[in-house]
């Protein structure tokens, strides 16, 4: 069962806060895997990646479906939807839809689509860790 330790991150107004992070092994068009740590965001409909991850995974960015993603501030960002094979600690492999932004100015996020409807994800605030199991 994959278990991911949370990470303490500094904030401007609230000191250090615990953030749930997951490690994913992403497989690109070239079949090469790349391990990436990204924040788990239950508020995000779809997972989000920065532009340079498309380059690294040899994914032709603009071949995906064009969408706009909107943060809480309301500013839209252009992104393209791609299905990317992802593995969680050699335990679960899923094809996840990612919105890959055309910029580096977004966070990498693991959102709900294809993830929270496929896996049981338990946030443990006592041990500051996230457990991922099959439903």
């Amino acid at each position: 069962m994959p278990v991911y330790d949370w990470q303490l991150r500094p904030t401007r107004h609230f000191g250090q806060v615990w953030v749930p992070i997951a490690e994913l092994e992403l497989f690109g068009s070239n079949g090469k895997p790349q391990y990436v740590a990204m924040q788990i965001d239950t508020g995000a409909v779809v997972s989000l990646l920065r532009k340079s991850m498309a380059d690294l995974l040899a994914i032709p960015l603009e071949s995906g479906r064009l969408i706009e993603v909107i943060g809480i501030g309301g500013t839209p960002t252009i992104a393209y939807v791609h299905s990317v094979r992802a593995r969680f600690n050699e335990s679960f492999t899923l094809d996840l839809r990612f919105a890959i932004a055309d910029t580096e100015n977004v966070p990498n996020l693991l959102g709900r689509l294809d993830v929270f409807d496929s896996l049981r994800i338990v946030f443990d605030p006592v041990n500051h860790e996230t457990q991922v199991t099959s439903p």
Binding site: D5, L56, P107
Partner: protein
Amino acid sequence: MKDADFTWLADHGPELFAKYAGKWIAVHNGEVVGVGDTATEVAAQAREKVGDEKFILEALDVSGDVIYACL
């Protein structure tokens, strides 16, 4: 089941942010083996140092107190 480098990242979050906030980093065997502005740049640095061995990328966002939802 925990990955050693991922655990190292979690254990060293505050100091990594203090040093590399806003950057991508690559970590291998408890060591930062790449720092830069894009995943490609950092992965290239890491490959020069560790070859085909595993390394983890993380973008150290500076927007720690921004609520962000991808709708």
